[in-house]
Symmetry: C2
Subunit: 346 residues, 2 copies
């Protein structure tokens, strides 16, 4: 790299930082998975022996980022050389991406209850404590930033409230300090569908149905209109609406990879979210998607106003609504980049 | 009544009309119920023999109003001397009320399929034809105004499109020329819940659950927040959220009075709604509730712009959302009063 031509100060600073990082922290990347058996005092379920599955990847000596997604995400954020299958946030995590694995060490866990083996009330704060237990286990005293989306953002708020002394910054995308009562009502219905299926013997159909209902809330009304505004097939006694092909595709896929118990307990956990923003005392970036139908912008605005640490609200528009964190790669990437720039302790 | 003092022209006109009506049509009120067996060419289900249950009440010589409500409403709009049980629109219909039974003859039908005996695809246009058949049967050539809310408004648009020559004015409250695809998706889920319960033996629980899901859309998020923003009961393995008491109250009530087949076919009928506003060529008042979560204001605005007849959009705000026609007595009453004033042919 040559500095013979005089670059603009901004470019010089960034380049200089890159060089420093390259110098101070050799670009050694790795990846590791493990499980940790711990005894935890769970908020509602009392003392339990739980198994926490974790994975990290990226710069072995890099600053640590904790990255957590929605209830159907897991510890595998993105592909690495060692674990090559695609992860749930492939667009944002990898070499040279906003969650830059050449620079950062990226840690994530499988949600407690995610495999269906833990059939008790799981509070989002329990997940935060599980992450802290893994950090202790791996000898990581400080987390540069926690980047969470959806349920992962809820858990991030809990982590910041309970373990803020070891956290540099929180980025909470499309997740708030509470669930809105009307959205809780929709999730109660989803869980009751699964319970109905379980008691009556149609558990697979029921779980597929509950998932379909959930997914309606994940996208905006505009996207539904764009995709499914077609005339139905109608016979004398039978109809089939355009959206039904979609339901019949996503439902069974979800059933194949998610257990009913995991679904019930993680859905319930979302509705148990209850953290006072005033107890969140780290710099916090909050991302609100205006079209999100399950996390109202008003709740995220209230969260931004109430957190104790410096806070900033990023509003974006997306037809993908709640799913924007997975789909709006450029907008989300830009927010992550800025937040990580600000959290850089170098 | 004295005209010695000179009233304003507007007041004079109205008083004069009242006097004329009192003079021409003695204030004789009555009520009658009946059934009509007809052979109908249904839009999707072909030629069928159907039974239509009707009721009228009010001024026996009065101008005729057709009044129709949501899928769970019926022909009994309000109490009369003869049929004294409360009706579904008690607040708006009766002596001296906006739908003034001392002045008008108020006709309504039970929805085709409302008793569960008609298990085929029922188009909203079939309902409009059923109303027309009853009008023929009763020898009523002209309807001064059709007042419809929710599904009743959808059927009203069909009635205006198909039988506009015998209709003076349409008032369509919270019902449009189509169902929004996202709301159709929600109703597909409701019907699939019932189908799941039917195939697995839990039909009562399933119907109650489907109804609970439907009701979430009938009210605004604000009302849910006001009513159900309370901490849940949480034990080690069990939660109960504030909204669940509500669900457990409304579900069984609905099951007691509605058959699964009726629910499936009328829910489906809402989603079959498909009428070109350009074919509605009567003066039309359209009422949009801004907070309505199942009939978007944008669809009603589009409807207002597109109908061929003179049209007027009335926007109101209500925490009751889609249910505003039942709850916002003053606002809805004022709109009905104005519309009926304009429809007066005297």
């Amino acid at each position: 790299m040559s500095f013979i031509h005089t670059p603009s100060p901004a470019i010089e600073a960034i380049s200089h930082a890159d060089v420093e990082i390259d110098f101070l922290r050799p670009n050694v990347v790795g990846a590791e998975r493990g499980v940790l058996d711990v005894t935890m005092a769970m908020r509602h379920a009392g003392i339990r022996r739980v198994r926490i599955s974790w994975e990290w990847q990226g710069a072995t000596q890099g600053e640590v980022l904790v990255v957590q997604g929605g209830i159907s995400a897991n510890r595998h954020v993105a592909a690495s050389e060692r674990f090559a299958e695609p992860g749930w946030w492939q667009a944002q995590c990898g070499a040279g991406k906003p969650i830059n694995t050449q620079r950062y060490r990226v840690l994530a866990i499988d949600w407690l209850g995610g495999d269906g083996s833990l059939d008790c009330c799981i509070d989002p704060s329990d997940q935060a404590d599980a992450i802290a237990a893994v950090l202790d286990h791996l000898g990581i005293p400080h987390v540069t930033a926690y980047l969470g989306a959806s349920y992962g953002a809820m858990v991030g708020l809990q982590f910041a409230a309970r373990h803020g002394a070891r956290l540099g910054r929180l980025v909470a995308i499309s997740g708030a300090h509470r669930s809105h009562p009307q959205v809780t009502a929709l999730r109660v219905i989803q869980r009751r569908i699964v319970a109905l299926g379980r008691s009556e013997g149609g558990i697979r159909e029921a779980l597929a149905l509950a998932r379909s209902l959930a997914v309606i809330g994940y996208r905006s009304d505009v996207e539904f209109e764009q995709r499914f505004d077609a005339a139905p097939e109608v016979g004398p006694t039978h109809t089939r609406f355009a959206v039904e092909d979609y339901f019949d595709a996503i439902g069974p896929k979800f059933v194949a990879r998610f257990s009913p118990t995991a679904y019930l307990r993680l859905s319930e956990s979302i509705d148990l979210q209850d953290v006072s923003p005033e107890t969140v005392n780290v710099p916090t970036d909050i991302v609100a998607v205006v079209e999100d139908q399950i996390v109202p912008e008003a709740d995220l605005l209230s969260l931004t106003e109430r957190v104790a640490g410096a806070s900033r609200l990023h509003r974006i528009h997306s037809v993908y609504g709640h799913d924007a964190f997975l789909k709006e790669e450029a907008a989300i990437g830009a927010i992550l980049n800025k937040a990580l720039e600000r959290s850089c302790r170098a």
